[in-house]
Symmetry: C2
Subunit: 261 residues, 2 copies
Amino acid sequence: MIGVFDSGLGGLTVVKEIMRELPGYPVVYFGDTARMPYGTKGDAAVRRFAVQDAELLMREGVEVIVIACNTASALAREEVQAAVNVPVIDVVTPTVTAVLAEDYRKIGVIGTSATVRSGVYEKMIHAADPRRRLYARACPLFVPLVEEGSERRPETAIIAKRYLNQLKLRHLDALILGCTHYPFLRRQVQAAVGPGVRLIDPAQATVQLLKRRLTEDPRLARPVSGDPHHRFLVSDSSPIFARLASRWLKRPVELELVQVE
Amino acid sequence: MIGVFDSGLGGLTVVKEIMRELPGYPVVYFGDTARMPYGTKGDAAVRRFAVQDAELLMREGVEVIVIACNTASALAREEVQAAVNVPVIDVVTPTVTAVLAEDYRKIGVIGTSATVRSGVYEKMIHAADPRRRLYARACPLFVPLVEEGSERRPETAIIAKRYLNQLKLRHLDALILGCTHYPFLRRQVQAAVGPGVRLIDPAQATVQLLKRRLTEDPRLARPVSGDPHHRFLVSDSSPIFARLASRWLKRPVELELVQVE
């Protein structure tokens, strides 16, 4: 079983990619909806929450854990790996590898306040190649806008333009969508930075790495024959969550309420 | 000592009113910033959190507790009062009393998703006077907009108009600002519903009730001579919180990090 966790429901973009690329594997998803969002929280809280989330997935018997949250990946991937005895894949590391494999010179990063404050993408990319130029911008309203279903409203385009106008002036080669909610705003972000900028969705690089790991070491987790049974756990249930989850995954999703603390 | 709690920092609008109306009383404020916002959470989580918040204030030795959060007031005021042996004042009950004292016929309520879903204002007002007409609307982006400092941006006016256009057509007599963050958006809300609508800020009725209680029963809490020492506790500290708190209270605020769980 593949365990996936996020602060809320944004990590479902990673689950969607797993369903597409690794269709036979059952997924246990945990969304820490009671304590979401992580992106506006302090570092210590995010670390504590992320370790608790991983421990919860371990109790469900997962064989590999994907941290489907950029904020938790940025601040807590080492703490999470230290806390569990299964492989942990975060969304930042494979994205950095994917970016370094291409000849992008000017790279933008957008994410939550906590992700951008951590400087994780800059640090990891510069450690490998100091000549790359990085430009980061926090976009705190993007998560609530997506959770409200306001992707296509005019104010969302205005807010995207305001957040991204400085990045647009940089004439970027690529822009990392450094929050699992942001792929839902792909069109609006592209319009705000201009058509020439390549948008990088960390879900893709992450699931490619997961796929490689599972191919290299088939004992890690095995696909089932027939349709796998996926589970979706949340720490707080609200009528809105189930509706959003079903809409995003384009299938009926039943949420199970669990206690994480 | 007066204890005040909120899911985050919005409750500082109530503290500000206490400082104005009851200048001699020391306040201990607790903002549950690690688990904020409450307004998008489910009922059970909000109840559990609110009781823990009140218990934390009791450990600080407070003599009266103000629930400076509409969501917690709507969902958990009975649970909180049952959990502590000091008087508890919520923001909803005194606001309902103030509204009933006036001849408002058509009354709007705006608040978080959880507050609006609870229907608390409608139920309490209708229990006293079934002839009043109530119209409610959730405004989920208002809290993140205020926390980003975006009160005066054009997109905030657009979002306010979108949320409030149905209420505007009702030609309301009064509109309850049913979230402690919303007084920061007073001007934008007034513009969206029209100049004839009286805006009701629950902080005022709440602090008037607190003042009456303290006058009637002076043993409850006593003012200090000289400048009282206020404390501001949070369950998660982020550089943004201290900046916002100081800006809103118009004085330097030092936040103390505490553990609530």
